[in-house]
Amino acid sequence: MTASAPRPMTGRQRILAALRREPVDRTPVCNPTSVATVELMDLVDAPFPDANRNPELMARLAATGYTELGFDSVMPVFSIIQESSALGCKIQWEQKDNWPTVRMREPIWRDADDVRVPNDFLTHPDTRCVLDAIGILRRELGEEVAIIGKTMGPWSLGYHCFGVETFLLMSLDDPGRTKLCLDRLKEATIRFGLAQIEAGADALTLPDHATGDLVSGEYYERFLKDLHAEFAERLPIPLILHICGRTVDRMGYIAETGMAAFHFDSKNTPDESMEAVRDRIALVGNINNPETLYARDPEAVRAEVFKNLAAGVQLVGPECAIPLQTAIENLVEIPRAVREWHASHAHPHAG
């Protein structure tokens, strides 16, 4: 907390200050993952699946996070498949009402020796699309709003390229080979991240799904903590680690990676999460998606926003990519509730 309020900030300034845990005029509303909905697709005529493959449509749909919802950030990567497509995975592109998904039952690799980041990785249409969309957003939105890119971590890419069960069994049977896979895959994470920084991204979400629903906290420490610290060193803008599910048992390790923020799931309460990270990393989250944003009303959304603000969560937003059928009225309630809360609390949030 600070004694005096900083002067009014733009969304971009607010997000970047909060990611540095510096004073802000109010808590930023941040979406490290997608806030695209079917309603928004209709509003700007940028439907899935095309909005995942056409940079003009991708940028147009992403911009609605700011223009229609009033968030302080925009996120043009609506799914987790862009790099995997460029690595050679088969993608099921789906229709307007569903996210594209990697066909993980058709793995492309079997062993660490198969891992190879292709030469055309950054010129593949599905990675190029993201880079071009970030460029468009930077030109059109200027400095008003933070543009958050996304580069997938090696653990998630391992699921996509080897298949979840094969990858997890390999981690148990041969930890050394697994670490070799991760070490080779990290080049995809770094190259795509650097390219997005060059294209104009202000921060990067780094999803790496070592979730408590699948693996232990000790696994995170053993396989990923050092790699994530390396990402924080080699990607010179704020990184927001995203891991779904129960993660409080590994938040202590995550807080030691040097990443700017951790995007946490509603399976972890704001209070216990703040206690776990002890001000060593900013937290982003954690409005529940399926039960609150998707299924309930603005009143329920407001209650969850207040709960996060009261706990001191530095950036407020949905816990993960929101359901495509989420109502706009529930989403606009997030920034509205943040402003309302700050209006009734004298001290500005220190980020």
Binding site: Q92, E94, D97, N98, W99, T101, V102, R103, M104, R105, V164, E165, L168, L169, S171, L172, D173, G212, D213, L214, V215, S216, Y219, C244, G245, N289, P290, E291, Y294, A295, I322, P323, L324, Q325
Partner: protein
Amino acid sequence: MAELADIANATIRQEIAEYLDRPVEIERNIALFARTRPLMQEIAVAVIEGDQVACDRLTRQALEEGVHALEIMDDGLIGGMGIVGIKFRENFIFVPEVLACARSMKAGMAHIEPILSAAGVEPVGTVVMGTVKGDLHDIGKNLCIMMLRGAGFSVIDLGVDTAPDQFIAAVEEHGAPLLGMSALLTTTMPNMGRTIEAFIDAGLRDDVKIMVGGAPVTQEFADDMGADGYGKDALACVALAKQLLGVAA
């Protein structure tokens, strides 16, 4: 009543003492392993430790020694998997370890299944399982299948991206009294309801019990869709399957 000390195998004793907390589960497992022969306990340990080589060897040894296949399955393989399920539910182990345990059980079942099939031994029940249309995620469903098979069910796995008519065809073909549907995506959850509606339209809803699960699915959502039950995790799925089919726990 049997006591922990009545179990011959030290590893089994340690597993029960260290990882089981609920009195009913402690009592059930002590009763089971106190009456089983030492070789069955060794098979259970091979499952618990995810040692597929040992499980394969010990199962063959037991059959060669004349132990009935059904006894090996119930007392050794299923017994071991029961403890695995509890440890998973309580977060003592995670998915990689469960996958290894299931792989071990499969190594033993490879010797057992042909014998039981030839002898006409019926499974606990038949379940059709699949991930709903538009969803390619299957790790949760697969864990449920492993645990169901580990509890003696016969499972027809339809895989991922399963359309309502595929669920209907499988239930009819196998005469399955129970269907399980999984979804990981909030965008595909409604396809559970659409599948249930398809069963109603086909006039088959009364012939089959339907259970649902998956990370974003809740009891409330399951009730709204008209499902017969919701399972929070793989062990809950097994308990629900037994309950819906009237099988003793």
